[in-house]
């Protein structure tokens, strides 16, 4: 299987630079939301085949929380942030300033907080890209779901399947003092548009 627009190292490097900036922006937004300084380590980027997604996130039957955004404008695509269930509980503790382990279940309030986080991270991330390549990109409101990893990722797989065979994975760790939570973002841009935008930009 081949991507219609193959990724080259050059494009990946440029994307890494943009994503790094985007994630830092997202961390800044996150800090503003919780009122404490949240840091983020250097994000890593990978291009992976679509069909291997469930295996990368752990077992496809594992419980996880997904926050999903779509974006449109000069570039269309999707962002899925996926967090293992336990990590999501820790993230809620972090968001709400609670002791680690205080959150046991995800009710409406907790889901809403995670949705807001995903929204924030996604929007800041997209804004960085938009700014870097001077494009107009608008994100949708977030959708939050709690289910098996495989089932959550079906959303991504089903909507791009047959069109694009590869996705961009951004992996980053959010840190609050000694606590840290790993997050994975799956960014599924329209590869053709992305390629054009980045090559036409001055990065």
């Amino acid at each position: 299987m081949q991507t219609t627009i193959p990724f080259d190292q050059d494009l990946l490097d440029k994307l890494s630079a943009i994503a790094s900036e985007g994630i830092k922006n997202a961390a800044a937004g996150f800090s503003g939301m919780v009122g404490r300084k949240i840091e983020v380590d250097s994000p890593t980027l990978e291009i992976i085949p679509l069909l291997t997604i469930p295996k990368v996130v752990g077992g496809p039957e594992d419980d996880a929380v997904g926050v999903y955004l779509r974006f449109e404008g000069d570039m269309v695509g999707q962002i899925m942030m996926i967090i293992p269930y336990q990590k999501a509980l820790e993230l809620v503790d972090m968001l709400m300033g609670l002791d680690k382990g205080a959150t046991k279940t995800l009710g409406t309030l907790e889901r809403s907080a995670l949705g807001e986080l995903g929204n924030l991270c996604g929007s800041f991330f997209l804004n960085s890209i938009a700014k870097s390549v001077n494009a107009d990109i608008r994100p949708s409101p977030p959708a939050v779901m709690v289910d098996m990893v495989g089932a959550i990722l079906d959303i991504v797989v089903a909507t791009v399947g047959g069109i694009s065979e590869h996705v961009l994975l951004v992996h980053a760790n959010l840190m609050d003092g000694t606590r840290f939570v790993e997050t994975d973002f799956w960014v599924l841009p329209d590869m053709k548009a992305l390629h054009g935008l980045i090559n036409n930009s001055s990065i």
């Binding site: 081949q2 089932a151 909507t159």
Partner: protein, 165 residues
């Protein structure tokens, strides 16, 4: 009776080894379609992602057939018969096809799950095969297990026990 064979997206397996359990973990909008001939014990399962093959990039890739409900059913039926299954005896069960996305404005456009289910029903009707049982739709992920030894099919959802279908 404890040799799970995990089927990822677009993968299939046919077995008559009683030790085998065919599993598709975490089906969301995807479908796990199982066919069993209880007499010869030829048992098959595949993990379909999309309803039908359109003019995509994998049109000429024969290994990609099981990604799609329509050609997956055809290919599996042919392979089952080749392995000694009798079409008239086949017990077909369909699991999955949930609509995972319940956000305003996103639901209808992306409801691949419902389209997958409909495709499977239509396809089996065309082939004159009755669907014995379904665990489909809703907004929940499912794991399907097919036990070759005794032709049992079970479904598990998050926070619940494995239940026979």
């Amino acid at each position: 009776m404890n040799n799970p064979i995990s089927l990822g997206l677009g993968e299939q397996a046919i077995s008559r080894n009683p030790e085998d359990i065919l599993v598709a973990y975490g089906l969301g909008s995807c479908l796990g379609i199982s066919m069993i001939d209880p007499i010869t014990r030829v048992t098959g399962l595949f993990h379909a992602v999309l309803p039908e093959r359109t003019n995509g990039s994998d049109m000429n890739d024969p290994t990609a057939a099981f990604k799609y409900v329509d050609c997956g059913i055809e290919n599996m039926l042919a392979a089952m018969v080749k392995e000694g299954a009798n079409k008239g005896r086949l017990i077909v069960r369909v699991v999955g096809g949930a609509n995972m996305l319940i956000a305003p404005g996103m639901t209808s456009t992306f409801d691949i799950g419902t389209r997958n289910i409909e495709k499977a029903r239509v396809k089996f009707q065309q082939l004159n095969i009755k669907v014995a049982a379904e665990a489909v739709g809703g907004h929940i992920g499912r794991t399907v297990r097919v036990y070759v030894a005794d032709s049992r099919v079970t479904v598990k959802v998050i926070g619940d026990k494995e239940k026979e279908l």
